[in-house]
């Protein structure tokens, strides 16, 4: 799966699992910051990230290792897509 497809899937997850308004989700780009407290971010908190992890595991069939610090991968859709695409390639 290419990073562009991964990004589209993530936007679907934003709506279906994180309950974002579809227009707001459509407005996000690869570089939109994800975590709360970062200027211009979509404001995800710790609970949102858990939901996102569950959704990613289900949708992409990969395992997210909670013992590993994944913070850097969750910085933006860009970093997240690259992380997921990388896991899919090595699966």
């Amino acid at each position: 799966m290419e990073e562009k497809e991964v990004l589209d899937e993530l936007k679907t997850i934003l709506v279906a699992r994180l309950k974002f308004d579809p227009r707001r989700a459509a407005e996000t780009t690869e570089s939109t910051p994800l975590p709360k407290g970062v200027a211009g971010s979509i404001g995800l908190d710790s609970l949102d990230f858990i939901e996102l992890s569950i959704a990613i595991e289900e949708r992409f069939g990969i395992a997210m290792d909670e013992n590993q610090d994944l913070t850097e991968h969750f910085a933006s859709f860009d970093s997240l897509s690259r992380f997921i695409a990388g896991k899919l390639r090595s699966a």
Binding site: D45, S46, L47, I50, I54, E66
Partner: protein, 394 residues
């Protein structure tokens, strides 16, 4: 202000029925967290819990949680020697979360999977947390004020605090109060989904701790106005000398990082009892075993009592997190500790976390001269409660 004393105890715990079994397990440092058998666990990371062993007392037509509540409440009333007239005027406060959800789930699962809708009015009615108060109130003919509090993991403790308020205000002079929860699929699945459960039995205050373990049970106390207890020659376990209740108003699941709400609850309990931090020798911690709770609770304890200022242990290391029963079962553990001058240990504590500046009584119970002790319960949504107990009567 009327002093509130504890004159009756009743418990059903993962060790079995009765307060004697409960204390024997705690004092022995026995861990009751094992493979879950009550519900299906396939596909989940953590498959452990501290279940109440079979057989349960009471009719199988009742919900599991109701059976636990009836057994524990009945024991407490008998222990206090309350008769029909006492009960007619007694208040009842129940802390509950799951109610009869286990049976309602079984009904819902059958409906979804088999496409049939079995008729079960009792499952529908019994699902709400208030069902236990209806059952107990009717069964034991309790005619005083009756209410059910739902404050997540601190419900059992809030029930005790509420009952003591009614007595202190002179509304009643005797009350039955406590909490109950049976294991439910929703609770088990939800904590798994939040990744808050350890795949091994929980290790509160351990450097390697990875999360909670789920448990179930029921704990009830009879609380009484001191003068009334004295007049009838009742045996007094301890005085419920003070309580504090605060709200983090921070996040629906995560505790507020500085532990301000916890500190305020502990300080309010001490102030209510006119007790200084130096006079407290033991804290029965909320101590769930999650990295966050234990770190923040330890910091809050240090702010109130000073580093190393008292012994700390977590009963959840042995009986798991019994949800709505936790606050009252752990209050019972605290009262028994005072009575026996014996601090129950923190089980599974192999490598104490260096960031926790307290002796957490690893693995073996500790004899200690105890004058006052607190019991902490910090629920989801930042619902913080501290109960302060003093040995004997003032």
């Amino acid at each position: 202000m009327t002093q509130v004393v504890v004159t009756g105890l009743g418990a059903v715990s993962p060790y079995g029925a009765g307060v004697a079994e409960y204390w024997k397990g705690l004092a022995g440092g026995a861990c009751a967290i094992r493979d879950l058998t009550l519900i299906e666990t396939d596909g989940f990371r953590c498959r452990l819990a501290a279940e109440v062993p079979e057989p349960l007392a009471g009719s199988a037509r009742r919900t599991r949680a109701d059976r636990l509540a009836i057994a524990a409440a009945g024991e407490a009333l008998a222990d206090a020697g309350l008769g029909a007239r006492d009960c007619a005027a007694a208040a009842l406060v129940v802390g509950a979360v799951g109610g009869g959800m286990l049976e309602a789930e079984a009904w819902y699962w059958r409906t979804a999977r088999a496409g049939v809708r079995p008729a079960s009015l009792s499952a529908l009615r019994a699902v709400l947390p208030s069902a236990h108060a209806e059952t107990l109130g009717s069964r034991f003919r309790l005619g005083g004020p009756r209410h059910t509090v739902v404050t997540a993991c601190s419900s059992g403790a809030v029930a005790l605090a509420e009952a003591s308020e009614l007595i202190a205000a002179g509304v009643v002079d005797v009350a039955l109060a406590g909490g109950v929860d049976a294991i439910t699929r929703i609770c088990f699945m939800g904590f798994n989904a939040l990744k808050l459960l350890d795949t091994a039995p929980c290790r509160p205050f351990d450097r390697e701790r990875r999360g909670m373990s789920i448990g179930e049970g029921a704990g009830f106390m009879v609380l009484e106005a001191e003068a009334r207890a004295r007049a009838r020659g009742a045996r007094v376990y301890a005085t419920l000398a003070g309580h504090g209740m605060t709200t983090d108003a921070f996040h629906v699941t995560a505790p507020e990082p500085e532990g301000d709400g916890m500190v305020r609850a502990m300080r309010a309990a001490l102030a209510g009892g006119g007790i200084t931090p130096a006079e407290v020798q033991y804290a029965n911690a909320h101590g769930t075993g999650t990295p966050q709770n234990d770190r923040i609770e330890a910091r809050a304890l240090a702010r109130v009592f000073g580093e190393g200022g008292l012994l700390v242990s977590s009963s959840k290391s042995m009986i798991g997190h019994t949800m709505a029963a936790a606050g009252s079962l752990e209050a019972i553990a605290t009262v028994l500790a005072l009575g026996h001058d014996l601090v129950p240990p923190t089980a599974n504590l192999a490598t104490p976390d260096p960031d926790v500046p307290f002796d957490c009584v690893p693995r073996a119970a500790r004899a200690a001269r105890l004058g006052c002790a607190i019991s902490n319960s910090f629920g989801f949504g930042g619902q913080n409660v501290t109960l302060l107990f003093r040995r004997g009567v003032a």
